[in-house]
């Protein structure tokens, strides 16, 4: 347990250097970087304009001019995947932000207070867990109508109890430690102790959970936009591209192939990144290997 404390005193550089010795971290980092780069570049440049419909170019198989072919409106699939990456990342990232921003304070609060506050908060957690993310998304759409923002809210709400649970579990293991006792003896209140001592010590856990929820968010967003509840056309999204591909699969199977690969590689990259991070940041696990 004592070496977990020393981790937080390691410099960021040395943690990074150690992380890059982990194979999953490196592969995950490369995959994630590629997707992030594609999304970033799409703001300035895409091979073709995704809002322009060129009917004469429709349903072209992959070629030198259109790497991933074109869809039923003559739009370039590669450009669509680049812009779709932007959408996926934005939705999943904001949803993780909502989950962390609300869940972590709630979890830390529950751990710091204990008693009935803890019990009540955890029962609220159970309540949210009883609604599968997709189901709450469907309900939210029933009220506010489909769209990227509502997809973010739906996925974000589901992230709150996840982070609350992780933060509470982590914080509960920190509170009985001697340095917390020392901090209390010096007259620090629960709020200050949480910020100064608990949070830095559970940051590892939260970071790893963050990558996992990020990956799950990408999957959930794809699912929602596939059934038409996510980003609305003409905004390209990976899930929507798969929906459009389904009816044309017999003549153009490549349409379904590339958006799917984009999702798989992104999620795979994030999961590997998370694995690599938890190996690096948790010395207890590292010793087991």
């Amino acid at each position: 347990m004592s070496d977990q404390l020393s981790i937080t005193q390691d410099s960021f550089g040395s943690i990074l250097a150690r992380a890059f010795r982990s194979r999953s971290f490196v592969i995950g980092f490369i995959l994630t970087a590629i997707v992030a780069l594609m999304a970033g570049i799409s703001f300035f440049w895409t091979p073709y304009d995704v809002t322009k419909l060129i009917v004469s170019d429709r349903m072209q198989p992959p070629s030198a001019a259109h790497w991933f072919g074109t869809d039923h409106f003559g739009r370039d699939n590669f450009s669509m995947i680049m812009v779709g990456a932007r959408n996926s990342i934005a939705v999943a990232l904001v949803a993780v932000g909502i989950g962390m921003g609300l869940g972590v304070p709630l979890g830390c609060w529950a751990a710091a207070c204990g008693g009935w506050i803890d019990e009540t908060l955890m029962r609220f957690n159970d309540l949210v867990f009883a609604f599968p993310a997709l189901l709450s998304a469907v309900m939210i759409t029933a009220i506010f109508g489909p769209g990227a923002i509502n997809a973010i809210i739906a996925i974000g709400i589901f992230n709150i109890p996840v982070f609350a649970r992780v933060a509470r579990g982590g914080a509960l293991s920190i509170w009985p430690r001697e340095f917390i006792l020392a901090a209390r003896a010096s007259g620090k209140g629960p709020m200050l102790i949480t910020i100064e001592h608990v949070l830095p010590n559970i940051a590892n856990l939260l970071l790893v959970q963050g990558t996992i929820q990020f990956a799950l968010g990408i999957l959930a967003e794809a699912g929602l936009s596939y059934v038409g509840l996510g980003a609305q056309p003409p905004m390209p999204s990976w899930g929507r591209m798969l929906f459009d591909a389904q009816t044309r699969m017999v003549v153009a199977p490549y349409l379904a192939l590339f958006p799917g690969f984009a999702i798989v590689l992104t999620v795979l990259g994030l999961n590997l990144l998370g694995d690599g991070l938890s190996d690096t940041l948790d010395p207890k696990l590292r010793r087991q290997r």
Partner: protein, 315 residues
Amino acid sequence: MAAYLVKRLLVGLVTLLAASIVVFSVLEIVPGDPAQLMLGMNATPEAVAALREQLGLDLPLIWRYLSWLGGFFVLDFGRSYTYSVPVSELIAERIVVSLPLAIISLILSTAIAIPVGLFAAARRGKAADAVSMGLSQFGVAVPNFWFALILIYVFAVWLRMVPAGGFPGWSAGLWPALKALILPAIALALPQAAILARVTRQALLEVLGEDYIRTARAKGMPWRYVLWRHALRNAMIPVLTILGLQFAFLLAGTIIIENVFYLPGLGRLIFQAITQRDLIVVEGVVMLLVVAVIVVNLLVDLSYALVDPRLRSRR
């Protein structure tokens, strides 16, 4: 144990009650008058008012909530606004598709995941472990509806072994009906199996480091017996927890998968109801799924005690 059981049941009930309030109030704030919707825009105000009275929409909010909630105990979920049939009838028609689908995929995923996890844990650090865990890492990342599209292309379009979608109904015979559910079940099960296999392996690795495993091996017990009899049983608690969570995922997953395969299940029903603003159907289906999730999690909690006798006395 009895005290624990009672407490767990009470918590489950309170969660259910809270969930019903959430569902009811969320759909209560949706704009639009069901009576107006059913009669169309040209209906006279008198006709709308009459229908509102008939549907009980003019009653106070709390009264409507209580009668809606009370209905659940006698399986009366109200009448559909668009079809004018009891919601319970619509649900009964659809659940015979969704429930078998969820159960088949749960069985499939368990049947794949536990042997793979066991296999990988037993050969920890060897090539077989690396390959199966690499594959599972890939499986976790595959969206089930994309996997479904690939399955349709290979087995329905290309090999023509199974239908690409639709459901003939159980009256068409067991085999044709099962045939229509095979691809959706596989599509749902495989990504879940990948997660479950990883959890099984991890749980087993932790158990295999215990003293009693060493003792069992030292007294000459065959490795295979040690694995199945001692290790797997003790590794069951995390596996059961994930299985319970997965059931919720599978139920929600059917919402999307049913759309891929055009299966007339609860998922399709909820989508139709949303597009037709048939909110009472949405409420009914959502509540049913929430009840299922809560009950399954309750069962999982209780099953811990079955798996681990130590927990029986401790609580």
